[in-house]
């Protein structure tokens, strides 16, 4: 039997394939200017540094920040979240977060709780996968050092009311840190207008940059201590780490190849047809939702309202079938790649009642087609019939 072409429905883990023009630009520019940015006085090094700073400007604009100096490059959103949480929190602090968070937020916070450094309150989410800003307001105490919230759940796809939470945080004097790993590239962000103090993002998801580049965008008034130290190319005589941004939070040579890719990806997002792609993804997601809802024994989570508060992803289960078995059958018998299990967000599944096995997640990207969605629906229907007869 000839294998059918791959249907890739794991775009929430990483978008695939990456646009060829971004990869080509990365290789071409890196081949010509891939030297250590800003570490030497020769022209090529200065040019590479200018290139990096231009991507800082692009990134600041993209997230609604006015200060390119406070765009810190990191490996990914997890790396950026560690930078801000460990550099901000001190002994005795209180933090508010949510049960929707990915382990990129939960584990750094849990680590500090286990060390006895911080107290943590996690707000819950409703049956449709949204947190209540008023619940966040009620959780904030006088010693709350920050609120940490995902902009969009990687399990449910629900886009959270971060602007409303930002307003509350500003009123209460608690900086809001937003994890935009899942949303950046699909959901607008205006951190200045929304009162957000820090945004952590990764390049390799909906921004369409390669893996290995992400960052942290800080508001002008948020000060973060360095937690990693080393060479910055600035003030080399001093044994003290550089205090000025962005070098304050960047130690060692940065990922220039990734920065070039991020710059190309951000420029690509400005094109109208790219912006339209997300609308098409949502149309396909609604088609997928309607089809899944019609299959006996399929249970969908938080998928009733696929409006502008939802990403192009759905999580479901087929009755009591282990989702890892569903994933293996989809891959092995239907050549469909998806993510099964807990999606590194254990508390979401605990709240849904799907822990410890989790669920099956289909996440769409700009290259998915109606035919692929129909094929995926046929595959799920086939598995559901098999499960009911087994």
């Amino acid at each position: 039997m000839t294998a059918s072409p791959l249907i890739y429905l794991d775009n929430a883990a990483t978008t695939f394939p990456k646009p060829r023009d971004i990869l080509t630009e990365m290789v071409e520019i890196y081949a010509e200017r891939g030297v250590s940015p800003g570490r030497g006085g020769y022209d090529l090094s200065v040019e590479a540094d200018e290139l990096v700073f231009e991507v800082r400007r692009q990134t600041a604009r993209f997230f609604g920040s006015r200060l390119a100096e406070k765009v810190i490059f990191a490996s990914n959103a997890t790396d950026a979240l560690n930078l801000v949480l460990q550099g901000l929190l001190e002994s005795g602090d209180h933090v508010v977060s949510s049960r929707l968070e990915h382990n990129s937020v939960l584990r750094p916070l849990h680590h500090l709780v286990r060390k006895g450094m911080i107290d943590l309150d996690l707000v819950s989410f409703d049956g449709q996968g949204f947190i209540d800003p008023d619940e966040v307001a009620r959780a904030i105490r006088p010693r709350t050092r920050c609120v940490v919230l995902t902009q969009a759940s990687n399990v449910l796809g629900t886009i959270q009311p971060v602007a409303e939470v930002g307003r509350i945080c500003q009123e209460r004097g608690a900086p809001l840190i937003v994890d935009a790993a899942q949303s950046a590239g699909n959901v607008p962000m205006d951190m200045t207008a929304w009162g957000i103090s820090a945004v952590a993002f990764t390049g390799h998801k909906s921004l369409m940059a390669p893996a290995g580049i992400g960052g942290l965008v800080l508001s002008p008034d948020l000060e973060v201590r360095p937690t990693r130290f080393g060479g910055t190319g600035v003030d080399s005589l001093s044994l003290e780490h550089t205090s000025s941004y962005p070098h304050r939070l960047e130690a060692g040579t940065i990922n220039l190849l990734g920065v070039i890719g991020l710059g190309a990806a951000l420029r690509r997002l400005e094109r109208e047809e790219v912006r339209d792609a997300f609308r098409l993804e949502m149309e396909l997601t609604r088609r997928l939702r309607d089809g899944l809802a019609d299959i006996d024994r399929v249970r969908l989570y938080a998928a009733d309202h696929l409006d502008d508060r939802h990403l192009a992803l759905l999580t479901f289960n087929i009755h009591d079938l282990d989702p890892s078995i569903v994933g293996d059958i989809l891959d092995g018998d239907f050549n469909i790649a998806c993510r099964v299990g807990l999606h590194c967000a254990p508390l979401v599944h605990e709240s849904l009642g799907t822990s410890p096995l989790g669920g099956v997640r289909f996440s769409l990207g700009p290259f998915n087609t109606e035919e692929q969605i129909d094929a995926a629906l046929a595959a799920v229907a086939h598995i559901a019939r098999w499960a009911s007869s087994a």
Binding site: D322, I325, D328, D333
Partner: protein, 116 residues
């Protein structure tokens, strides 16, 4: 009769028909893959409530074992299908808890903890 229980230096163990105690990790995988023999598979299956393996199950176990010894890893799904001549659905039905949750363990392969 197969016995299982905790051990001081392993998460648990299984006793084969010849009386050999085989240490297992917390997920029930052999800690030392050299402890494997067909008796070990029988003991692990019995501990899972399967008294006797079918010839089809043995064929899959032997394929997994041979593939691992040759390649140093468990087969990917498409290699598993090609090597056994079975669909994933058929393979899933053949083992309690599904192929991935059971067959590599019975075949004495190392525990490859995937990300959930």
């Amino acid at each position: 009769m197969t016995e299982t229980g905790p051990s001081s230096n392993a998460a648990k163990w299984v006793r084969s028909a010849s009386g050999k105690d085989i240490p297992l990790d917390a997920d029930g995988f052999l800690i030392n893959i050299d402890d494997w023999d067909e008796e070990a598979t029988r003991a692990l299956a019995q501990a899972d409530g399967v008294k006797e393996l079918t010839e089809a199950q043995w064929a899959v176990i032997r394929f997994l074992r041979a593939f691992y010894l040759d390649q140093g890893k468990a087969p990917l799904n498409h290699k598993l299908k090609a090597g056994t001549g079975l669909s994933m659905m058929e393979l899933e039905t053949m083992f309690p808890g599904g192929i991935k949750n059971t067959a590599p363990r019975w075949a004495g392969l190392p525990n490859s903890r995937g990300c959930r």
